[in-house]
């Protein structure tokens, strides 16, 4: 049982590390910006709700919602990546690679243009629903393809093609849209956590929270599914129901991200991979919470860099996540090649 203790210790260590990193990044994120706010000031404002009015409003109106959103969406994105990887038994599946984010983006763009033109405003609800529909469309297409294409590489090519097609369609729509309808669209379509409202945060938190809880409850069958479909069924998993549940749960996660922050690349692949390596296990019951936490940390960290690296110019969030995520993915593929 010595080794069991060792792996428990390792898992505990990873969780503590992630929690510490989480706190550190939150503080750094509030601290650093065009107006630096000292740690003491932050504590005072957050805990005692007193302090300089200007700083209070910077923290409460700008930085805090943005940080929380980055945390929620980062976690959602990573978890959705983990679910898709499980579903396709493919380590580089993810919402971005499979074209799911792009599908969501297309429908969101159409919805935005439509509502801005007619109503002049768009609710979070409408955007999330649009993104959800877009995600499901892409997933549906991938599912049809995956029945024919058993091979990992071809499936990814199919996903990338869907991504390009959707992006092309989005560009087309954007090009011919009224300038005033797409003011927000342009920045959004590149991906950013800026300009988040508390309403949005509450909405995302509720949606993602419920979904994550449901995913966690599915961790037992997910573990069985990791051994392959046939084995999972022999252990008592109703495969048809389970596969549906997996898709229906991974879609709102990636849809929510796309609706609020636009398509964000590589997080969904890199984070679950890093987390599994760190935990040295792929047991969903620990990987699911750790992946969520890890994704949150990763996205907050990326957002910090996006905001501050070339301040006052802000980078797209995808620029930063790609810089950090792509090498992880490349290393992972090289590693796999070696193992064979």
């Amino acid at each position: 049982m010595k080794s069991a203790n060792r792996s428990t210790a390792r898992i505990t260590g990873v969780f503590i590390g992630l929690a510490l990193a989480f706190c550190l990044i939150v503080v750094l994120n509030i601290n650093i910006g065009s107006v630096p706010i000292s740690v003491g000031e932050i504590a005072r404002i957050l805990l005692w709700r007193t302090g300089e009015t200007r700083l209070v409003s910077i923290i409460w109106k700008i930085r805090l919602p943005r940080i929380l959103m980055a945390a929620i969406l980062g976690g959602a994105l990573s978890l959705s990546g983990f679910l898709l990887q499980t579903f396709f038994s493919n380590p580089i599946a993810g919402p971005f690679v499979l074209g799911i984010s792009s599908g969501a983006k297309l429908i969101v763009a159409l919805t935005m243009i439509y509502f801005m033109g007619r109503v002049g405003a768009v609710s979070s609800w409408a955007l999330v629903v649009a993104a959800f529909i877009g995600s499901l469309m892409s997933v549906g297409f991938i599912l049809v393809m995956s029945r024919r294409l058993k091979h990992m590489a071809t499936l990814l090519v199919a996903g990338i093609m869907i991504g390009y097609i959707c992006s092309a369609a989005t560009d087309f729509v954007v090009t011919f849209a009224q300038e005033s309808d797409i003011v927000n669209l342009h920045g959004w379509s590149l991906g950013s956590f800026s300009g988040m409202s508390w309403d949005g945060v509450a909405f995302a938190a509720a949606l993602v929270g419920i979904t994550v809880a449901l995913v966690f409850l599915l961790s037992k069958p997910i573990g069985a599914y990791q051994l392959g479909e046939a084995y999972a069924q022999s252990m008592g998993v109703n495969i048809k129901l389970f596969r549906r549940a997996l898709i229906l749960l991974s879609s709102p996660l990636s849809a929510c991200v796309t609706a609020f922050a636009g398509p964000i690349s590589f997080v969904g692949i890199a984070v679950p991979h890093l987390i599994k390596r760190a935990l040295n296990t792929s047991k969903p019951i620990v990987v699911i919470p750790a992946t969520f936490l890890g994704g949150a940390v990763f996205c907050m960290f990326s957002d910090l860099i996006a905001r501050t690296a070339f301040a006052p110019t802000e980078l797209n969030i995808s620029t930063v996540t790609s810089v950090f995520g792509a090498p992880v993915v490349i290393a992972m593929m090289l590693n796999r090649q070696k193992e064979r």
């Binding site: 037992k220 051994l227 392959g228 046939a230 252990m235 008592g236």
Partner: protein, 369 residues
């Protein structure tokens, strides 16, 4: 008579609604091993996949423990039946312990946490297949033989009453094949588990099975006890072998005899000729063997490999006809090989054959070959 645990009646199986094999009737009782044999692509896996519910059955019935297969929930089926499949399991970062413990799935709670009892059963299952020392090893980093044992432990850990194994011995070396089947045999008897498996190795199938089912294309060609099924002609027909190459007693398969006029005569007794036959076979030399008593072990193999066998009735002195033929062959063959023949009272006539061979300078020993 043990109670029948798995029963199929006029079962029809196939892929995508297209029937492949019809009229399958199988009975498997607890404590009994039933083996499916048959050539590649004959549908052994298809039958097993239908029984394990991975494929929809296309007709007929499958009953497990008295209830129809399709009426059982996946969960209740999981407590009755465990599987070892052919497809490679490629889990990520999982130890052998994790794999075996996954067999506890039907018994654990909502989140799948293992209780003390589950852990004890997991350890016991690993112990039973002599794999406890592998518990912390990465499942992807162990050998094929170890992997199959771990998968068997996983199946045992599921505490089933029926285990279905699809070609569990493929990829294994001889030692691991034997080890695995021995464990299986013991398991079936001791725990009264019904076992149904498919095997490629008909020699092993003959030794391990209580009941053998020959699957060939569209139907079950034959089924019965091993001693009934393993007849030379039945096996040769099943696998489409050319005449006389399967030996039912030893369960061995031989390459076909080299055709042509015998160029060597092999003199031997009691098994001493066998290595020489094989040697000549490899050298593509047609040969004759004699004079062999028909109950001599050499005679068994000579009948398959030699162009001609000069035979004599057991325990009788060598007769005129046999001796004449042996002397003729000594004249016509290029070589006469003494593979180590025992000459005694009743086969004294062999001395004449030896003598004639020596005089013509054709006699050589197996070592000179």
């Amino acid at each position: 008579m043990p109670k029948i645990y798995l029963q199929t009646q006029s079962l029809v199986v196939g892929y995508d609604g297209k029937p492949l094999i019809r009229d399958i009737s199988l009975d498997v009782s607890r404590g009994e091993i039933v083996t499916l044999i048959g050539p590649n692509g004959s549908g052994k896996s298809t039958i097993l996949k239908s029984i394990t519910r991975q494929l929809k059955t296309l007709g007929g019935t499958v009953e497990i423990d008295g209830s129809a297969l399709h009426s059982l929930s996946y969960k209740s089926l999981a407590t009755r039946m465990a599987v070892v499949l052919t497809e490679r399991m490629k889990p990520e970062l999982m130890t052998c312990w994790d794999i075996v413990a996954s067999g506890r799935y039907p018994y654990t709670g909502r989140l799948g946490l293992l209780t003390k009892e589950d852990r004890e059963k997991t350890a016991a299952a690993m112990e039973a297949v002599h794999a406890l020392d592998l518990r912390d090893r990465d499942f992807n980093a162990i050998s094929d033989g170890q992997r199959q044992r771990v998968l068997l432990a996983r199946a045992i850990c599921q505490e089933p009453e029926l285990i279905v194994l699809d070609e569990p011995t493929s990829f294994l070396d001889i030692r691991h094949k034997l080890e695995l089947l021995e464990i299986l045999r013991k398991m079936a008897r001791e725990r009264q588990i019904a076992v149904i498996l498919s095997l490629h190795e008909i020699d092993l199938a003959q030794k391990v099975s209580d009941w053998v089912v020959c699957v060939k294309g569209e139907t079950i060609a034959r089924a019965g006890k091993p001693e009934e099924v393993f007849q030379a002609d039945a096996i040769e027909q099943l696998y489409g072998l050319r005449g006389g190459t399967y030996d039912p007693e030893f369960g061995s398969i031989e390459l076909p005899a080299i055709q042509g006029n015998p160029r060597a005569l092999v003199l031997s007794s009691g098994g001493s000729g066998i290595p020489v036959y094989r040697r000549l076979q490899r050298e593509q030399t047609p040969f004759a063997a004699g004079i062999l008593y028909t109950n001599d072990i050499d005679s068994r193999l000579a009948r398959v490999l030699a162009q001609e066998v000069v035979a004599e009735t057991p325990f009788m002195p060598i007769g005129e006809a046999a001796l004449r033929r042996a002397l003729e062959l000594t004249n016509t063959c290029e070589r006469v090989i003494d593979a180590g023949i025992c000459i005694g009272e009743i086969n004294r006539a062999m001395e004449r054959v030896m003598q004639q061979a020596k005089q013509s300078g054709k006699l050589m020993t197996a070592a000179q070959l």
